[in-house]
C-alpha cells in the first residue's frame, strides 16, 4: 500500500494563491462560521486560519450563534462591505436550512458552491468557484493517476456538498462516474470495477480488501473520530499488503481542500477588485 500525502500539492496551490494576493495588493478578508464544540470543525478552522496567514489572507473564525440567529448574522455579514467571502462550515446548526443560509449570504461571498447560482454554473460547465473538497479530489486524482479521460471512477457518497459536485468535475474531465450511497445494494461490486474510488461516506472501515482491485487509487475524504484519533473510511490495516494507493487521513485530501478554499477566497477578492 502506498500512502498519498497532500502537502506538496497544497503548497503549489498556496503559492499560486499567494501570487494572486500579491498582485491584488491587499489582503482578501474572509469570515469562517463554525461550531467550536465540534472537534473536527474546530481543527479544520484552525488549520485554515494558519494556512491563510501564509497565503496573505485575513481569515477570522467565529462560532455559530444560536440557530434562530444564524440567518440574521449571515445577512449582516453579507452586507459588510469589508468582507470578501464568508464560509459556513457544515453541518450547520440544527434547524438551519442550508439553502436559506446560502440565499441569505448571496452568491458573491459564497466560496463553497452552496448558492444556487454557483451550483448552477458548476452544473452548466462554467464553474466560478467549485466546492473546495470536490475540486481538491479532482486535483489529487489527476496528480496521482494522470488525465481522467475514460477512467472508471466510483464515488461512495452522493451528498450535495461533495459527491454530486465532484461528479460534475470528473465528468468535465472525461471520466466515467458512478455515484453510490447508503441505498446502493452491492457497493463492493461497483468499487471492485473502479480504477479510482473516492469515499466520503463517513463510516470507518467501510472500504476493505474485498472492495478494491489491484492498482486502485483511493481518495479518502472522511474524517471519523474514534478512540485512536482520526481515521477515514478505508480499513488501512486490512489493506497493508495490497497494491493500492490511499490518501492519508487527515493529511491527504485535507490540506488540498484548504488550499482550494483559500484559492476561492482570493478569486472572490479579485472579482471584487482592489
Amino acid at each position: 500500500m502506498r500512502i498519498f500525502n497532500g502537502t506538496a500539492l497544497a503548497a503549489r496551490l498556496n503559492a499560486e494563491t499567494q501570487a494572486r494576493v500579491a498582485e491584488l495588493g491587499r489582503a482578501p478578508r474572509c469570515r469562517v462560521l463554525l461550531d467550536g464544540s465540534n472537534a473536527g470543525m474546530a481543527a479544520y478552522g484552525a488549520r485554515l486560519a494558519d494556512s491563510a496567514v501564509a497565503a496573505g489572507i485575513d481569515l477570522e473564525t467565529e462560532s455559530y450563534p444560536q440557530a434562530a440567529e444564524v440567518l440574521p448574522r449571515l445577512a449582516t455579514l453579507a452586507a459588510d462591505a469589508t468582507l470578501d467571502a464568508v464560509a459556513t462550515l457544515y453541518p450547520l446548526p440544527a434547524g438551519v436550512d442550508p439553502l436559506q443560509a446560502a440565499l441569505t449570504l448571496g452568491a458573491a461571498k459564497d466560496i463553497d458552491g452552496l448558492h444556487p447560482e454557483n451550483a448552477g454554473l458548476l452544473a452548466l460547465g462554467a464553474p466560478a468557484r467549485a466546492p473546495a473538497t470536490a475540486r481538491a479530489c479532482r486535483l489529487i486524482a489527476e496528480d496521482i493517476a494522470g488525465p481522467l479521460t475514460g477512467r472508471e471512477v466510483v464515488l461512495v457518497g452522493a451528498s450535495r456538498i461533495v459527491g454530486r459536485p465532484l461528479a460534475q468535475l470528473l465528468l468535465d474531465a472525461g471520466a466515467t462516474v458512478t455515484l453510490t450511497h447508503a441505498d446502493t445494494r452491492d457497493l463492493a461490486a461497483h468499487t471492485r470495477g473502479a480504477e479510482i474510488v473516492i469515499t466520503a461516506a463517513g463510516r470507518a472501515g467501510l472500504i476493505g480488501p474485498d472492495h478494491l482491485a489491484d492498482g486502485t487509487v483511493v481518495l479518502d475524504v472522511s474524517i471519523n473520530r474514534g478512540a485512536h484519533g482520526v481515521i477515514g473510511d478505508v480499513d488501512l490495516a486490512a489493506l497493508a499488503d495490497r497494491d493500492v494507493t490511499v490518501t492519508h487521513v487527515p493529511d491527504g485530501v485535507g490540506p488540498v481542500t484548504t488550499g482550494c478554499l483559500l484559492a476561492n477566497i482570493a478569486a472572490t477578492a479579485c472579482e471584487a477588485g482592489s
Copy 2:
C-alpha cells in the same frame, strides 16, 4: 420485447396541467424558439403546440433569427410582460453560447433548467422546474419499474441538458447512478449490470443484445433520423426476442417530455400570478 408507449402517462400529466390552468383563470403564454429547418425540432414544436391547446396554454413558435440577433431577441422576450415563459430548443444556432442565452432570458421565464439559478436549485435538491426530458425519464422509469430506491441505473450520455440533470433526479429518488459517455471504455460492461438503462447518445443501433441483461428496462431518449424514419439508439430488431422493455421512439419519452414542459409553463404562470 415489450414496447412502452408514453401517451397514457402524458395524458395524466396534461390533465393535471389543465386543472392548474383552469384554477389560474387565464391561459399561460409561452414562446418557443426553434430552428424551422431542423425537421426534428419543427416536429417537436408542432406536437408541443397541439398539446398546449388541449392544456389551455397559449403557445406560439417562432424561428431563431440569425445568430447575432438571438441574444437581442431573447432580451426583448424577457422584457415582454405578456409572456410567462420562453423555451429555446436545442441545439441553439451555431455561435450562440447556451449560458449567455440563458442569462439573457433570465431565471423567471426559463422552463427547461437552463439558467444557472434553476440548474443550481436542482443540484441543491430544491428543483423548481427540472428540465422536461430529465423529469420525463424519472417519471417513466417509476411508471414501468416502480420505486427507484437502490435500483441500478446507467445513463448513456452525460450532457448538461439530459444526462446530468437526470442523474440528480435519480439520486434524489435513491437510485445508484452511473454516467457513461463517448469516452467510456466498455459501455456494454456497464449497461449489462443495469436494471434501467437510459440512452440519449443520439447513435442509432448503439444498444444491442450484448448490452442488456434479461429484464432490463430501456428508456430511449434519442431521435435519430434516417432512411426509414425516426429511430432511437436501441437496435429493436436484434432485441425482438429478448426479455426487455424499451420505450417507443418517438411516442415513448416524447409525449411525456412534452407533458413535463407544459407543466413547467403552467408552474411559471402560477408563480407569476393571475
